[in-house]
Subunit: 144 residues, 3 copies
């Protein structure tokens, strides 16, 4: 992974074999990024994505084997117990141009992945929701 | 809905039962946001999306019943007759990870929805296009 | 094409018949934009999208005939040999709300296309990768 920082925006290149979520989290840990958001494109091989079923209060997961184009990738950066946390959703296109998508657990870059990530000055926290057990954004109403 | 404002970017959490378009428009009305853009992720139940048919010069609509992951969500904020207007497109993933998408009329949050919204200092207007009847961006050429 | 510039962000409207990649590249050439990123929505007619096959080390291409909604569009701006270069991926929704997507070679606007594009102060270069022949981001590790 290499990057270039312009103001508060990182331009990031992930290379073949790198795991997207793990690599972005590693960058956030190293640079103490506790709030921000990103978009990306590129291509991946294996990817694991999830779909949350509110009735079962649980995720269903699938492992997909590419090659896939990253048709879209958007995520945010927050902190959980003081450490960076990546929440991202992804759409993946196969060689028939059909698209599958959901919550991104992890994906391995096949050729390249290009991400623009804007960091905030402040951290954004995330806290376990009692009802669902999910980690939800912990925001102060109307804060500035 | 709760949010945290960092510089010109809002980090927004919408909660179960909230309508995405209505809630974002309400925030824009309250904070007098007349220009900006946003990305989001999360999960929704019922959603209504449209597809514009240029031949018929009209939208076709469908109501989808989730649960869906919001695979992608991008929109912009403008004003129509001085009031905030939300224009957004969305991709939704079901429990087989198949994706449907189009113009977002409205969608109801099922679990959570997380949005990063950047506001502009100035308003961006939108005006009815005589040919199609659609509300198109009213931009001055080369303006600054 | 018309646009409005707010700080470092362009709000752009492309009109029926305009080619998205060509038009954005033309704006970047004219305004000397050598680094940035954008998101968009709108509707297109004909579009050509690709899928990279790492085994063959080549793209497969398809030409799609709309009308399509632009369900998502994200890209970045870099320079190749000193000239602006657009790299974008797109998801397209048809009148059944099915979605196809991949690497965007070109697409022709049918009704309108609305893009928010943020430019960087500095250029971001792109260089041919010896292994794949692809133009990859040329970033200095850890640069600021």
């Amino acid at each position: 992974m290499t990057y270039f920082l312009l103001g508060s925006t990182y331009v990031i290149r992930l290379d073949a074999g790198e795991r997207i979520v793990e690599t972005l989290r590693g960058l956030c840990e190293r640079d103490a990024i506790g709030g921000g958001f990103f978009n990306g494109l590129g291509a991946v091989g294996e990817a694991e994505i999830g779909h949350f079923d509110p009735a079962a209060n649980d995720y269903g997961w699938t492992v997909l084997s590419g090659p896939y184009e990253i048709v879209s990738l958007y995520g945010n950066i927050t902190t959980v117990d003081g450490r960076p946390f990546i929440h991202a959703h992804i759409a993946l296109g196969d060689n028939t141009f059909a698209v599958k998508g959901g919550h991104l657990r992890e994906a391995v870059v096949s050729v390249t992945c290009e991400v623009t990530l804007t960091r905030f000055r402040d951290d954004i926290g995330r806290r376990k929701d009692e009802g669902t057990g999910l980690l939800k954004l912990a925001l102060e109403p109307g804060g500035d």
